[in-house]
Amino acid sequence: MAAPDPRGQYLADFGSLEKEFYASEPEWLRTLRATALARFQEVGFPSQKEELWRHTNVAPIAKQRFLPAVRLQTDGVSPDRVRPVRFSQFEGSELVFVNGHYAPRLSALKDLPPGVRVGSLAKMLAWDARIAEPYLGRYAKVEANPFVALNTAFLQDGAFIEVPKGAIVEHPIHVLFVSTFHPTPTVSYPRNLIVVGEGAQATVTESYVGLDEGTYFTNPVTEAVVGPAGRLDHYKLQRESEKAFHVGALQVHQDRASVVSDNSLSFGGALVRNDVKTWFAGEGAEVALYGLYATHGTQHMDSHTLIDHAAPACTSRELYKGILDGHSRAVFYGNIVVHQGAQKTNAMQTNKNLLLSKDALADSIPGLQILANDVKCKHGSTTGQLDEAAIFYLRSRGIDPQAARAMLTYAFVREVVDQVKVAAMHAVLSIQLASRLPYADVVREGL
């Protein structure tokens, strides 16, 4: 017997939310939602017959009825509950969202350079939607991914960050999404929009954290537009409940000579899919994509990246590393497309997986599509266990085998951990790693 098609439920949800919340929105936004919904209604949840979803079965999400979190009360979370997952000793601004709702009480906005806007996207849309109109939904295409369509149809709130031409935001901006337990599983649709103007600079860190071990679904989308010679350092730390579902997407659009880095650090969730895509729209731009995923138990984590070299003389560096334990499964699917005419492209893509258990399974699918002839492109992938020769070398110096394993496991992830330049996030990451890596106590000093 075939499972009932969940599309009808989403259509019904949309209908009632539309009356209640969307009716007063400007025409372009309502059209954006309607188009996205139509797309989702057309394609539904992806099946494993589709190449981009071959390794991830989203049936557990499709089968579950989720209550839109927009209907939840927002004031049930005390600052004490959120404090442990906030950044400590942090000098930047912090925007906190609880179950998708902006929580001004929990947020802290610091002094920012003139013209810089940081705040709730929903508030900004209510105040003057024209500011977002040129950007929202223009980069993360609903045709490309049914979950982007779903988010776009139901988008609720998230961070709006605009850094005008030449402005430099010194301290990172932290956007924290926390989810709490609710008897009925809920879905939230965080939507972030980051606009970095010509020659401007900003660092944005996104965190997704489950405060309780409940089942829920987070479906975030972030669009980032970086102007000529602008710079964006972006981080995403995913620490959802291990019963939760998280399907997210980041779409970056880079103008000439811009420099972008993204660090995607993923620990939580039962079923996780994360798409990171960047598009080079002007020449001489650079991107560095780093990823770290650590899975255990029966977690399933799927990381997809796509770098579109649509302009000449751009450079991309990509390094994704995974540590897999228990019966977990992780997927890395990387694609670099060098478009026709994108000469002098320089691209390097690496994925490495470390299997800590015989029952863990890693799929690594690196890929290059090159339609230009004067390019330097390289990709590589390795999956394996700890190097026995290295373990013996450490043991031959008196180091305990468990300590040797911990040292080598930590050494494996360090290449990515060292890329985290935001001290407060680095601290959270160290704690997260210590709780996850075997025998971490023996390498505490190294963390």
Binding site: F392, Y393, S396, R397, G398, I399, A403, A411, R414, G446
Partner: protein, 255 residues
């Protein structure tokens, strides 16, 4: 009591018998050279003594300070004072030299019920030894052997030996791939370590290193057995005749 007593040691690697009955006695304060051509079993002997997995002792015995060395785990051999300078030191990106060596030293000290060294005490200790091997301090913060030249790797082995202060050091072809200046630095480091309580076993193909680390005893290993033992002069003789000439004479002399 001898420091090391190897009796009729037989060992195999991947099911192939390489050592076919090695006998060797090493006393504290002595320097022994074990010479032999490629494939004679020199490195196998060194690795069996260090406890490398896949190097399996299948007969005979090895006593270290009167204790059964072959029954000890590799880390316990190190903690008891056995050190192998690797022929091919392993590159370990992501593990800092200083962090690694401090972990090793403190693991050994814990085993011996000695207080662990803190970061300051450790740095005081290593700074001397760093200079001894002609290394600079930046070397300590680099990843273990990662991207090191052949010479740097070998110097790092001797540097580790100088910090860990073993009672029995086995140098497995430490001279291979070294130019003459690097060889002198390494030999000087080893000579500084010579003492009445410590023994050093130099495993080598070539006589050259023995010009700088002068051995008390020289043993010739052929096809898994020590076929001749003597003093320093045996190495010089080998240099003249080569292993081939020696092999022919050894075969002729055999019963």
């Amino acid at each position: 009591m001898a420091l090391l007593e190897v009796r009729d040691l037989k060992a195999s690697v991947a099911g192939k018998e390489i050592l076919k009955g090695v006998n060797l006695t090493v006393n504290p304060g002595e320097v022994h050279a074990i010479m032999g051509p490629n494939g004679s079993g020199k490195s196998t002997l060194a690795n069996v003594l260090a406890g490398r997995p896949a190097y399996e002792a299948i007969g005979g015995s090895v006593l270290y300070e009167g204790k059964d060395l072959l029954a000890m785990k590799p880390e316990n051999r190190a903690r008891e004072g056995v050190f192998l300078a690797f022929q091919y030191p392993v590159e370990i990106p992501g593990v800092g030299n200083a962090y690694f060596l401090k972990s090793a030293l403190n693991a050994i000290r814990r085993y011996r019920n000695e207080p662990e060294l803190d970061a300051m005490e450790f740095m005081d200790l290593v700074n001397d030894r760093v200079k001894l091997l002609g290394l600079d301090e930046a070397f300590l913060s680099r990843s273990l052997n990662d991207g090191f030249s052949g010479g740097e790797k070998k110097r790092n082995e001797i540097f580790q030996m100088a910090v860990l202060e073993p009672r029995l050091a086995i140098l497995d072809e430490t001279d291979s791939g070294l130019d003459i200046d690097a060889l002198k630095v390494v030999a000087n480091g080893v000579n500084t370590m010579r003492s009445k309580d410590r023994a050093i076993v130099v495993v080598t193909h070539y006589q050259r290193i023995l010009n700088y680390i002068v051995p008390d005893f020289v043993h010739v290993l052929m096809d898994g057995r020590i076929v001749k033992s003597g003093g320093r002069e045996l190495a010089l003789e080998l240099e003249k005749t080569g292993y081939q000439g020696f092999e022919a004479r050894a075969a002729a002399a055999a019963p």
